[in-house]
């Protein structure tokens, strides 16, 4: 493998990891209520 392929695979993998982290963070049980609260608030009276 030459440098270019390593960089290519590295960047691809890196981006994938970031994506997975966002998914994990968004869907963690701890944040369930926090993540969904906005959709109820937007229906509130004001």
């Amino acid at each position: 493998m030459d440098l270019a392929s390593i960089v290519y695979l590295g960047v691809t993998f890196g981006m994938f990891v970031i994506f997975v982290l966002i998914v994990i963070r968004t869907y963690s049980k701890k944040r369930k209520d926090e993540g969904e609260i906005a959709k109820y608030q937007m229906l509130d009276d004001d």
Partner: protein, 471 residues
């Protein structure tokens, strides 16, 4: 009620003006569709197809599309943040400067002052106006968000902010040019580079003007119309990050098989296909929000427009990635298939969402109930039939044309000359013009309905009062 402090007047003005520009866009669309079947309808130098077509596209995207983006963003930001606009004066300035920009664009394009870059035809002085307009708009929205009441930001606000930033970057980079005079400039980039920059801009105009803001509207007006929240806010967040990340890689799918470096084309192809996921994330979110509410499709005309709109979006985001595949592009690129794709998005997705938003806003900005729901239903069917006639006839035309362009005899020669393929298009171009007339009729019904509402619509009925009181 705190309502008094919200600025609805500005929303009303933007709605009115964008409808006017939308009508202009569709009228010019009908005119150019007739020019394509009869060249005698060209009246040089100003009223020729070559000059009118960019007026059609710009009036559609910037007059109607951006006009409605201004109207709805200024409304949504107040309601979602539960605070009045940061500056009413700035909003007022934005309204008049917006109209001045659109008028200046139409006049200069008619006079032939154009850069020729698609969706960025206006010459540099108008680019300067556009930048001022956008900065004013951005400041007002972002400052209002900063002083919001609810801490957690609803997904519509996310899409709004991302769109505002991205459009600014895209527009300024693609505008770079060296002026020769007030009305003529040369692009700062040459040849293949210019093409690559232009379609990086062009496709992301689709993303950041014709997609993200309309998703913001969809995510706001659907729950507001049905009264039930969206299916999953967290799913919309995942779709958000994926969408804004992936779109920017895909510009070169407009340049497949051209001299643009191959690896850029391949990346564009790959990312276009991946884009199905975040696009359909929103589509599913919309459909799943309707769980147990499907009866509203019959009872609530707003929901009909919104669900049809997101369905058009779903089809559009399946067809688009297909067109981004090299082999498929080799076949349909440059044919009439592509305008069919475009109008599925603009007349279907974008316009449907605009119509729904306006119907939703009517009681709020006019303080009256809509004049006639049967007319709204008639409007719905006319634009649906008009748009399907438009797109279906040109899909057939595109496939036919592509087939003829590629047909070869057994001795390796071409079966058809160019003219032999072009004359086959006429029946379909007639059908398209006819579909356009049906759509135009629908638009006129819509405008009549709004006019009647503004003039003398009934006082708000009981149900609307409830909604108004709650919303």
């Amino acid at each position: 009620m705190e309502n008094q402090t919200y600025n609805y007047a500005i929303v009303r003005s933007f709605v009115t003006w964008s409808i006017i520009w939308g009508l202009v866009a569709v009228l010019v669309g009908v005119i150019v569709s007739f020019q394509m079947v009869d060249p005698d309808l060209n009246f040089p130098p100003y009223l020729t197809f070559g000059r009118l077509r960019p007026i059609h596209t710009n009036a559609g995207i910037y007059g109607w599309g951006i006009g409605m983006i201004f109207a709805t963003f200024l409304y949504m930001v107040q309601r979602l943040c539960k605070v009045p606009l940061w500056s009413d004066k700035l909003a007022k300035f934005q309204l008049w400067f917006f109209n001045a920009t659109i008028i200046a664009s139409a006049v200069t394009l008619l006079l032939g002052y154009t850069t020729s870059k698609e969706y960025h035809e206006m010459e540099w002085p108008i680019d300067v106006m556009v930048v001022i307009l956008w900065v004013v708009f951005a400041i007002n929205i972002i400052m209002t968000i900063l002083k919001r009441k609810d801490e957690q930001m609803y997904i519509s606000l996310w899409y709004m902010m991302a769109a505002i930033i991205a459009v600014a970057i895209l527009y300024i980079v693609n505008a770079a040019a060296v002026p020769v005079s007030l009305f003529k400039s040369y692009s700062a980039y040459a040849g293949t580079n210019d093409a690559n920059v232009e379609w990086w801009f062009g496709h992301n105009a689709v993303a950041m003007v014709l997609t993200a803001p309309f998703l913001a509207m969809f995510y706001y007006f659907l729950p507001k119309s049905t009264g039930v929240p969206i299916y999953s806010h967290r799913m919309s967040i995942i779709a958000f990050w994926s969408l804004i990340f992936m779109y920017l890689w895909t510009g070169a799918h407009h340049l497949l098989w051209t001299p643009v470096p191959d690896w850029i084309q391949t990346l564009a192809m790959g990312f276009s296909i991946m884009l199905i996921a975040p696009s359909w994330g929103s589509v599913f979110n919309g459909y799943l929000s309707m769980n147990g509410q499907w009866h509203q499709m019959r009872e609530n005309y707003l929901v009909k427009f919104l669900i049809l709109g997101i369905t058009f979006y779903g089809l559009q985001t399946l067809q688009g990635p297909m067109q981004a595949i090299r082999t498929f592009s080799a076949f349909i690129h440059y044919t009439d298939w592509v305008p069919a794709h475009i109008h599925l998005g603009t007349m279907g997705w974008v316009s449907m969402i605009c119509f729904a938003s306006i119907y939703y806003l009517v009681p709020r900005i006019y303080g009256r109930e809509l004049y006639s729901i049967p007319l709204a239903n008639l409007h719905f069917w006319l634009i649906l039939v008009g748009q399907l006639t438009w797109s279906i006839s040109l899909w057939i035309a595109g496939v036919l044309q592509a087939g003829m362009w590629n047909a070869m005899n057994s001795d390796g020669s071409l079966t058809y000359t160019f003219m032999e393929t072009m004359v086959e298009m006429y029946p379909y171009w007639w059908a398209r013009a006819f579909g356009g007339m049906i759509y135009l009729a629908g638009l006129i019904v819509f405008i009549y309905n709004l006019y009647k509402t503004a003039k003398k619509g009934g006082a708000i009925a009981a149900q609307a009062t409830v909604v108004e009181g709650r919303a």
